[in-house]
Symmetry: C2
Subunit: 417 residues, 2 copies
């Protein structure tokens, strides 16, 4: 008997009708001889409604604190109760569990807690009593019994953590897309669903803006070797399986193209080139909790350096102000910036062993007269920053240049069977 963990997001449980449909899916999975653990999010709109109340009471656009977690955790609690009722109505034994009831132990960082431990024994007992166990995602308790939440979207992490704790055979993330694509189909209509992708590639795809899965959930799944599958709640299909690299696979060169519209670029030129200059520049930025993405440093004109980095577009103005202060402290430097840039990334474990990917990428962009503003590379990805207006053209150009629409179809079919 296999143990399957299924996770259904807010859209999948957004109405009573959809909750009933999810109940049918769960029962079908159980009838195939599986034990089933289900993790659910709040009904779509509910978390925003609750946060809206908190905003009103706290008088701020970014409510925080212990009580926020007490508040928003009710969203998932409503869903577990309703889904359990829907299962019971269909003569399926089901029991709901809040994060606290399953002792999903987290640290005490309210609003963005991290899971530390899960009582897998209690979960196993409920399963062995014949229940479908319906768990509230996104929430836990700290060591003092305070309710914590994992931050928005954290239900994926709950599902993977439960799968790891219970040694599940597969963790299935049901969402409103039917898998991971070579790139965003809204930008490139020829984008193709991948039947498999590695954890590493998925991490790059997720962090680069393919928002199918929460990045922390993928990290977790990779760390504990939990096979992860992304499927659609609304359509039948095998989805995309995320696993460790399989030696028998003939890896395609490139798995996909990720992009991120929300970036902004900041440059500080001609700063005195001395040890610690990078820390002097980035220290005050991170002290203000601004996350920095790409970082490039070049030698500038004699004894000075040029330093460029990207931040989330929302942080652009704030970062610019901080840099102005930094130039005063450093005694020099000219500041520049561009909030209208995007990052485009080619991702694939296959590129490790293949030379020439980068030059092929740069040439394809150059042929379309797309100027590259920054470059950064890793083992399995190459990212470039380009002007925002070239985003769609850039994606389509690379998709075609690397023939991503032409699937390694034979291999895919074998894998699915």
């Amino acid at each position: 008997m296999a143990l399957i963990v299924q996770k259904y997001g807010g859209t999948s449980v957004g109405t009573v009708e959809r909750i009933e449909a999810v109940a049918e899916k769960i029962i079908a999975t159980q009838k195939l001889g599986n034990q089933v653990v289900v993790v659910v999010s709040a009904m779509s709109g509910e978390t925003n409604r609750l946060i809206g109340l908190a905003e009103e009471v706290q008088g701020t656009k970014t409510p925080t604190g212990r009580e926020l977690d007490v508040l928003v955790s009710t969203g998932e609690q409503v869903t577990i109760a309703l889904l359990s009722m829907a299962l019971q109505k269909r003569d399926c034994d089901a029991v709901s569990c809040t994060g606290g009831q399953l002792n999903i132990r987290t640290d005490n960082k309210f609003n963005k807690a991290r899971i530390q431990d899960i009582d897998g024994e209690h979960l196993k007992k409920l399963l062995n009593d014949g229940n479908v166990v319906v768990v509230a995602g996104f929430q836990g308790v700290d060591s003092e019994g305070n309710i914590t939440t994992l931050g928005r979207g954290g239900s994926d992490t709950t599902a993977v953590a439960l799968a790891a704790a219970a040694k599940a055979d597969e963790c299935q993330i049901y969402t409103d897309v039917d898998g991971v694509y070579t790139t965003d189909p809204r930008v490139e209509p020829n984008a193709r669903r991948l039947s498999r992708i590695t954890f590493e590639e998925m991490l790059e795809m997720a962090s680069l803006g393919s928002k199918v899965l929460q990045i922390r959930a993928v990290e977790f799944a990779g760390k504990y070797d939990v096979p992860l599958r992304v499927l659609s709640s609304f359509e039948e299909g095998p989805g995309t399986l995320i696993t460790y690299e399989d030696d028998s696979m003939e890896d395609p060169l490139i798995s996909g193209i990720a992009f991120n519209r929300d970036e902004a670029q900041l440059t500080i030129k001609d700063v005195p080139d001395q040890p610690g200059v990078a820390a002097h520049i980035l220290g005050p930025i991170s002290a203000e909790n601004i996350e920095v993405d790409m970082i490039v440093q070049n030698i500038g004109r004699k004894d000075t350096a040029d330093f460029t980095f990207t931040v989330h577009r929302n942080d652009y103005d704030k970062a610019l102000k901080i840099l102005e202060n930094t130039t005063i402290i450093l005694g020099g430097g000219r500041i520049g910036g561009n909030p209208n840039i995007v990052k485009l990334s080619l991702v694939g474990v296959g590129m490790r062993s293949h030379a020439g990917i980068a030059s092929r990428m740069f040439k394809a962009l150059a042929d379309e007269k797309i100027n590259i503003l920054m470059i950064s590379t890793s083992e399995i990805k190459i990212s470039v920053v380009i002007e925002e207006k070239y985003l769609e053209l850039g994606v389509r150009t690379l998709h075609e240049a690397f023939e991503l629409d032409q699937a390694t179809e034979v291999k895919t079919k074998q894998q699915v069977q």
Copy 2:
């Protein structure tokens, strides 16, 4: 330093504005030098919304079971979070507690659990740390950690139980009326607010349909000698204090007139008069969880008995069917019934020592040609069943006959001071 438990119902916390107003009231109480525990209900409408979802999923008008409690308990959890935020915004240290977090231990009767134990020590610790403690009413946990609810309106009980556990000096129930009245002012405009009433009288008033307080809360308060005060959330005023009978009080004869519109009468005539006949009739009724209120048995025609009782009007049809079966088993009896009756009760500890109250009551009704269908009496009340159409006339008649509009004003003022 006194310890005050305050309870605010759903209307009092029905909007963010009202929650803010409640926060102000709490802080005012604290500034008088009191420690404050606050018990809150769900925001008005919220419990009905949640039950509506359960009805939809369970496909029934009366949802039940473990998961219903998981669902509806979120209503109070939302309120404790928002009220705690509102207090914190005003620089008042506050901490919210669910029933589970305060270990409000109940039995395992879902949807209508009873409180068995409260962890008063944890509550005391939170108070001594300088917090206003904001507690979710109406909920607890059983010995296995399952969420339970006390049944609708049970927040009053939570407040009294907490007051008893923490040995509070007073338990204040804030509601949308400013106290307990001699009768319903919508029926008798001359109805008068009582400054004091005894637990016993309050029990009779509450169980007879004066729905200011939950009856179980009054029982609890009486049992643990918790001074209970009913006040308005929206108007200033001393409300009504509910305490043990004070020997120095010169009791008024009658405190008030309660009535209950929701009754129905069932009669079974000419049943063989043998030992155990009452049990034969009522056994099957209570087996179906139908609550019986008044019971009267008369001798009928030779060797037979006439048996009459009242039930909630919703149970009338069901009870009638059961009785039909009972006559078959008993081998005789004619069934009659009337769903259009009401119960009217005169309540007052003073009637114990005063003869003639009953006859004065019956004469007043007879003068208005109101026919009495059933009578039942106790130490401190006299109840009559009359046709529904006479309800308003009956209440006004008795209110006037016992001069309830003419308060024992001098005494009342002394008590308030």
